[in-house]
């Protein structure tokens, strides 16, 4: 039995190698992947990824080993390696690592999808992805290419630690990304959408091939007649999709406690006002079916709804057990590992700005000239609070009305300065699935309502 093997390995770490703390994280995973380019299926792909991650704390330092095997001898060898690694790492240790207290949990978490992707024949997944591509390509003859990636993964994670926690947790993710390019004379445009869910294959009943296909294709085509934005400082209205990436990239990363400790601009701002009072931000791991939700994180801590900013004041950070100890607080369930090959690090889940009371019309009506940025292409932030968000769908705002489209815009600024300039928050709300990279990939959602910002730098080539 797997549980007995893990028991034995954890015991070895503690008894034989003197670990203060030990954990074993087992992954059994089955993946289906498809790539469709135009009307061709590039390949139908299926794979198995089974393995074990062993993490130990010896002499106050971390040791980690991962292997693709459940064999007891291989695991015994790996755990001895992990302890050796920890001892080596402790040689130059200045401040030993300690963990916030953990509750011993025993649980079995089942997923209950309406449509389990592992029971959907691959033919049906091919039919859906081809149908998305067809909808994109047939939207307009200026659409030149379409790539659809599809991924589902289904499996079970087993987590055991030396403090009595044992959790079996089912995992289910369904994801698709659609990319399209359009061309007219010398103008090339590019458009992207993602679909993602932890509830099941039924996500395609809402995000139908027709709906997703049209969204992607229409944007690529509309951008063809767009002009480059003016460079400079302007008032902007950000759509929920852009607010989401702003909240995630520009603010969220700074509030990941490991990065806060690394010297992010939030370090000396806890309990202080960092944004205008209309700004409230959450990172929530408990939204049912959302792409960033789960019951337990990869340290066996229960995921919660974490309030980060309340009415403009920083009230919380995202923690693992190590940083929670440093801040003398509780872990928040943000420790996530992409797979058994890597160790858990602090990651976001579903991050969003809470809605208030404005309508989109009210947000726009007072702007003489500015921009409405509806959808993002990518974003990135730095510890000093410099952020950049690339825009894939944007419009001018002229005399209080949405005007002509602009292409390849991006916005930048300092996060805290920009959060202070948020002067009105809308009453609508959307949450968008995405993937976040921090050395490892994590599935997340970002979102919020429409938001007005008095001033932000718009990077444009005109």
């Amino acid at each position: 039995m797997l549980k007995d093997i893990l028991d034995k390995i954890i015991e070895m770490a503690v008894q034989k190698f003197g670990a203060e703390y030990a954990e074993a994280r087992v992954q059994t995973l089955f993946k289906t992947m498809l790539t469709v380019k135009e009307k061709n299926v590039e390949a139908a792909k299926e794979g198995i990824e089974n393995g074990v991650a062993l993490r130990v704390l010896v002499n106050g330092a971390w040791g980690f080993a991962s292997v693709g095997s459940f064999n007891v001898e291989v695991l015994a060898d790996a755990v001895s390696h992990a302890c050796k690694m920890a001892k080596a790492a402790s040689l130059k240790l200045k401040a030993p690592i300690k963990l916030a207290e953990g509750k011993a949990i025993e649980d079995r978490v089942l997923v209950k999808p309406k449509k389990n992707p592992s029971r959907v024949p691959v033919e049906d997944k091919i039919r859906i992805t081809l149908s998305i591509a067809k909808n994109v390509l047939e939207y307009d003859n200026r659409v030149k290419s379409c790539t659809v990636d599809y991924l589902d993964l289904v499996g079970t994670n087993y987590f055991m630690n030396s403090e009595g926690t044992y959790i079996e947790q089912d995992k289910l993710y369904v994801w698709s990304r659609v990319l399209a390019t359009a061309k007219e004379r010398d103008v090339y445009t590019f458009s992207r959408e993602e679909v993602g869910s932890t509830s099941g294959y039924e996500v395609f009943d809402v995000e139908t091939p027709e709906a997703v296909g049209e969204r992607v294709a229409k944007r690529a085509v509309d951008q063809l007649k767009a002009k480059p934005p003016k460079g400079g400082s302007f008032p902007v209205v950000l759509g929920p999709n852009v607010v989401g990436v702003f909240v995630h990239e520009a603010f969220g990363h700074l509030a990941e406690a490991d990065l806060t400790l690394s010297g992010s601009v939030l370090m000396d701002k806890i309990g202080k006002k960092v944004a205008s009072e209309v700004v409230t931000i959450y990172d929530d791991g408990t939204i049912e079916g959302a792409f960033g939700s789960f019951k337990y994180d990869d340290e066996g801590v229960t995921a919660q709804k974490t309030l980060l900013v309340k009415d403009g004041v920083v009230v919380g950070l995202m923690h693992n057990r190590e940083t929670a100890k440093k801040f003398n607080t509780q872990p928040t369930g943000n420790a996530r590992a992409e797979d058994f090959r890597v160790e858990p690090i602090i990651r976001m889940r579903n991050t969003f700005m809470a809605p208030r009371d404005y309508s989109l019309e009210e947000l726009i009506e007072d702007i003489k000239f500015g921009y409405y940025f509806k959808s993002f292409r990518g974003g990135q932030a730095n510890l000093d609070g410099t952020f950049q968000v690339g825009i894939q769908e944007g419009y001018e705002i002229v005399k209080g009305e949405i005007g002509e489209p602009v292409r390849n815009a991006s916005i930048s600024g300092n996060t805290l300065e920009t959060l202070h300039k948020v002067d009105a928050v809308g009453r609508d709300f959307e949450l968008w699935p995405g993937r976040c990279g921090k050395g490892q990939t994590a599935f997340v959602c970002d979102g919020g309502p429409h938001v007005r910002v008095l001033e932000v730098i718009v990077g444009g080539s005109a």
Binding site: L93, N382, G459
Partner: protein, 453 residues
């Protein structure tokens, strides 16, 4: 755990191919991968973590009536491989025929490569890596007290790959990589700099951790007291990392044959045309001595090669894998890339080398009356890969005034089109270095749009 032996890995790959053919596939290909990596990590000023990761597996492609199936397993054993073969076959049968499919590559002699393996790297203990990381850390701390080493570390990897296909290709190659890196920030009277970064990665055991530590510290310290700049077009020197970031999401995409064939590249129909300043020459050199992407064969068993991309400003070739090459009746350029055993091949550059010039970096700066020196950019991944348009933050970056670095710059964006950038290259330095898949010196570009305050 010791590395798998050459015969063992090849025979597993050949077994997978043979088993797939026995099971009724028309064609088959197996790619086996093994990575043994030991790392020591620096977190917030101290070494507190070490890891050993063993990752091996085998990916198998099968073809049934021109439809492709792929499956992989990370359990290197015959039963798991058999299961993967059956899954790949089932996937191929469920998939749709691709009329452009013209078979796997045929056998050619593999390339000769140099300086890709060093036994000394395989023999490094975690304690040795701790020593490397502390040398780096101490050099950083010595350089400037205002600097905080945020994260970094040292790592040593042994990587091996084997390929076999039903056209008789069978091969094995192995190599090593050692690296150390350090990310820093500096803090002074309430000001925090952006992250500064330095690294050194080599195939042979000849890295200089002290230089990395000192340079990461120097950068962060000199990024303090940053000021805003005006919005205007100016001269920009792009340093190594900034170029890697910008080119990876633009030019390196635009030269891929599948982008070109599918109308997604601004370089479509431009072969033989001038697309860059005439001092720009770029090779994709899969055989570069000690190159971080140098291998005897690519992810499909095609020998890697040196391919001219741009010579004296003129576009010479795109990069091909077997599929896109056969579609045009050409030969693959050996650019099929695999992310270990987990994926089917896709086109990627190998060592993308911008040929340097004779000017020193100081001469490059000295020749500029007003401009920016950009070490890194933020947001390059939001570039438009089809058009080459980008709009990014230059950070860390420094203002150049009267031939000298005057002060650090904050909040400056640069926007434009990568093909305009290539046309406006007016000088290249002699400080060539390897930055992952890019090998480049500093590049001086005229007339770049800078958006300041």
């Amino acid at each position: 755990m010791a590395a798998l032996k050459e015969e063992e890995v090849i025979s597993l790959a050949e077994f997978a191919v043979k088993y797939a053919l026995d099971k009724g596939t028309n064609e088959a290909e197996a790619f086996a991968y093994e990575g043994l990596t030991t790392t020591v990590a620096i977190e917030r000023g101290q070494i507190a973590k070490s890891s050993r990761i063993i990752d091996r597996g085998l990916g198998i492609r099968t073809v049934v009536n021109k439809a492709l199936g792929f499956s992989y397993t990370n359990m290197i054993a015959k039963t798991a491989i058999k299961e993967a073969v059956s899954k790949a076959l089932k996937a191929a049968k469920a998939s749709k025929p691709d009329k452009d499919w013209q078979g796997f590559p045929t056998r050619k002699s593999f390339a000769q490569v140099k300086d890709t393996f060093d036994k000394a790297i395989c023999e490094l203990s975690p304690e040795d890596l701790v020593k490397i990381a502390s040398l780096m850390l101490e050099a950083c701390e010595r350089t400037d007290k205002r600097v905080f080493p945020v994260e970094g570390g040292a790592g040593a990897s042994y990587l091996a790959r084997a390929i076999a296909n039903s056209n008789g290709i069978a091969g094995f190659d192995y190599g090593t990589i050692i690296e150390c890196s350090l990310a820093t920030i500096a803090q002074e009277s309430g000001e925090v700099t952006p992250i500064c970064f330095e690294f050194n990665a080599e195939r042979l055991y000849k890295i200089d951790p002290e230089k990395v530590g000192a340079e990461a510290a120097r950068q962060a310290a000199s990024a303090l007291k940053a000021k805003r700049v005006e919005t205007k077009s100016m001269n920009v020197i792009f340093a190594h990392f900034a170029l890697q970031q910008l080119l990876y999401y633009t030019l390196m995409e635009a030269v891929k044959a599948d982008y070109v064939q599918r109308g997604q590249s601004a370089l479509q129909d431009k072969l033989g045309e001038k697309v860059a300043s005439e001092i720009v020459t770029i090779y994709d050199d899969g055989l570069l001595e000690g190159g971080l992407r140098t291998w005897k064969f690519d992810g499909e068993g095609v020998p890697q090669q040196k391919t001219p991309i741009i010579e004296k400003g003129v576009l010479r070739s795109y990069l091909y894998d077997n599929y896109t090459a056969k579609k045009e009746g050409k030969e693959s350029t050996g650019n099929a890339f695999r992310a270990g055993y987990l994926s089917t091949p896709r086109i990627e550059v190998t060592n993308f080398r911008i040929v340097p010039w004779e000017k020193s970096p100081e001469e490059l700066i000295g020749g500029i009356e007003e401009g920016l020196l950009v070490y890194s950019v933020q947001g390059a991944h939001s570039s438009n890969p089809a058009s080459g348009e980008f709009s990014v933050v230059a950070t860390p970056a420094w203002k150049i005034e009267n031939g000298k670095v005057a002060h650090a710059v904050k909040g400056a964006m640069i926007a434009g089109n990568i093909f305009d950038v290539l046309r406006n290259v007016s000088a290249l330095a002699n400080n060539e270095r390897k930055v992952w898949q890019l090998v480049t010196p500093w590049v001086h570009v005229e007339n770049v749009k800078v958006i300041g305050k």
